[in-house]
Subunit: 193 residues, 2 copies
């Protein structure tokens, strides 16, 4: 059981950030983030998430045309913007990732099952990504308000990698946090049978 | 920044469990799990995840015909099996969940965008669910090895709720844990631009 302070850090007091301090995010921090999130479980250990960390001004400028108006300024200002994506050909890695079942690669040959598996598990890993960022002391600002097709054409032209969501990373300025929205009560979202 | 022990609990030392002790999981524990996971961020606070906790023998028996052979015994033995699902009509809740933008409901009226948003964000919430379970001292055994269509016909016949994955919950017996599979290295999954 985690401490109350730790539960606050990753869930209860954590907020989506919109303003960022000038404190940079190092390579070592991005590696620490991935080194945590990668341990989260995926189906047949398929690990389809692929992450592009945009930190240079040149990389950010390639992203800008794909952003919705309300996400542009905060994303350009963030120390790092991650494109959380997934690999439709994730099964190529299964001989390494699931070595005790050499036939695992063939389980996902059907394209619809492959794409569904990549999206589901890539999104699960997106959840791990956000929590891992918070767990190591970063703030996160995830968003879906962008043009996936434009991002894919610019950053993943081969068609094999698909953007899922984007997530600003850095150290947030609490002044930019919006009032917290409510959540569904247990009985609105859950049933015990 | 979380302590090393906390990072171990939610990521580094956490394992998918396959054998369960007889220790039951109470209503209060299931409510504590939801009360954590619900704070994880979703797009426009859409919160599409819906969870059916199967704890009674009768409920478990309704699930059994949909399980793959290798998932049957461990799932019947688990104190609780959660069906993590999502609501295609999540937008109906937006006037409550995103009250400062009364028009938000209309953003998701296009069925493909609505279904994609539900699946992406319901899966993100699935990631929060697994981490929250571990954070409060439960062990988790998530799996995709079941027939989603059979589960939906049995538990969600209206067509509005779709099963995503299932997850056994309880207190795991370490004797049932498989050897850990490798993960992709940073440079195999990530790029810094």
């Amino acid at each position: 059981m985690l401490s109350d302070a730790a539960l606050d850090t990753i869930f209860r007091a954590a907020r989506t950030h919109n303003k960022w301090t000038a404190q940079p995010v190092s390579d070592a921090t991005l590696r620490a983030l991935y080194d945590l999130m990668r341990w989260g479980p995926t189906s047949a250990n398929c690990c389809p998430a692929r992450i592009l960390f945009l930190r240079s001004a040149a990389a950010k400028e390639r992203l800008a045309p794909a952003l919705s108006a309300n996400n542009l300024e905060k994303t350009m200002a963030a120390p790092v913007t991650a494109i959380v994506a997934y690999d439709l050909d994730f099964a190529e890695q299964l001989p390494k990732l699931f070595p005790h079942r050499p036939e695992a690669k063939s389980w996902f040959a059907e394209p619809t099952l492959g794409a569904t598996t990549a999206f589901r598990n890539g999104s699960l890993q997106g959840g791990y990504f956000i929590i891992a960022a918070r767990a190591i002391g970063l703030d996160a600002g995830p968003m879906s308000g962008f043009d996936n097709a434009k991002v894919d054409a610019e950053f993943f032209p081969g068609g094999r990698i698909k953007s899922n969501f984007i997530c600003n990373l850095g150290h947030g300025d609490p002044a930019g946090v919006f009032p917290r929205n409510p959540r569904l009560a247990f009985d609105e979202a859950c049933t015990i049978l």
